[in-house]
Amino acid sequence: MQLPSDAVTTERDRAAEIWCLPAEVSLLWQCWDEEEVIVFNRASGLTHLLDAFSAAVLRRIEATPATTSDLARFFATGFELDERVLSERVDAVCARFDQLGLAEPTPP
């Protein structure tokens, strides 16, 4: 193997990235009321407590991988909310999912 002389960082087009569950991840859901949802990640063995909105976003991603703007549009339409405001929340929630390994962005 040839050693590179320096690290090369690839550029990312974040808006076009498609969010989905990481390849190894499968989730177990437990919901007693709608307010707080518990999700177990079989791949990590970790358990997470999600608020209703985060849980809804993750379920959507699990069912149908999508970009963050797709997700914002989906929830704005469904809940009759402002798409721009939702966009910020969706971005924040997805970023946290990435840190936790529940969802990640993939190239388009």
């Binding site: 193997m1 690290a7 960082t9 990590s44």
Partner: protein, 361 residues
Amino acid sequence: MRRLSEADPLLAALIRPAVMVELTEPEWETLLPRARACHLLARLAAAARAGGFSDQLPARIQDHFAAAAILTAHHERTIHWEINRVQRALQDLEIPVVLLKGAAYLAAGLPSARDRLVGDVDIMVPRPALDAVERAIESAGWQPTISAPYAQRYYRTWMHELPPLRHRDRDTVIDVHHAILPRTARLKPVPDELWAGAQRLDGSPLYVLAPTDMVLHAAAHLFHDGDLHRSLRDLVDISDLLIHFAQRPDFWPSLAPRAAALHLGRPLFYALRYCRCLLYTPMPAAAVSAAARYAPPKPIVHAMDWMVPNVLLPGQAHSAADRSGAAMLLYLRSHWLRMPPWLLIPHLARQAIARASQQRE
């Protein structure tokens, strides 16, 4: 060296697992706490499972083996996930990353049943990429654990690695190396050689060391790193690697020449000697004679023959006084090998002072 293996049921069970079916309950009563103390319970449990005779063992032992298997599954799941997270953190950098030690064994599907969580992951990256790697790891949530400037310098300058970083959510630790023995060490392995031999894992962007290098790295870690307390586990790992890689026809013939190229002949000599004498690891006579070339003078071999079993084998066979004396000697010896004497004494004194002041708090 005494023929310990015959007298010691733990060694006997490691060498020939089927012997477990013949053990009486009083023999298990001796073996169970020792196996647990050496962190070899999971290894015995896995051997019993693989041999298909778990259900012939006493019920209590089956319960303990089942519990050990749960710990093994937890360990594997955790390390696989850490590898996944490391890969995710570094994927934009497009640099080769070599997994080391336990994470490498697991990723490469090598035998390594563990009954405790050693949640540390060790990786090696090219030295020029170290800064970029450090930034990427920290932005993915790992945080420095050591702030004292002296300790930071010790790791970066002398130990060829970043000070360990702990993940803020998962509490697991990553050690990022760029070479495998400290720069000031009397033995100077050659990092470029290690990179040249590294092999990519199937279906993954990650690498592991070549089989010979994996064995030599484990040997260097066991016989020249500081803490030999309860490292029978590490000797068993080396033995398992030797048995696993023996299936490759080029493995044994290339081991001693490779040790020479990496300046790791002495650790190889010790690894083969103690695997052969304590664990009866099968090995070709040619390999043993090739490694004998790197033996130290006879008095040192005799001293090691006394020290090593005393340290590796806890329990009734050896007196506590023997053991702590031997452990102290080996710890000093390891440090001596890492750092020139003029550096060693101030370093140990500072560590002792730091430990004492921690205890007072």
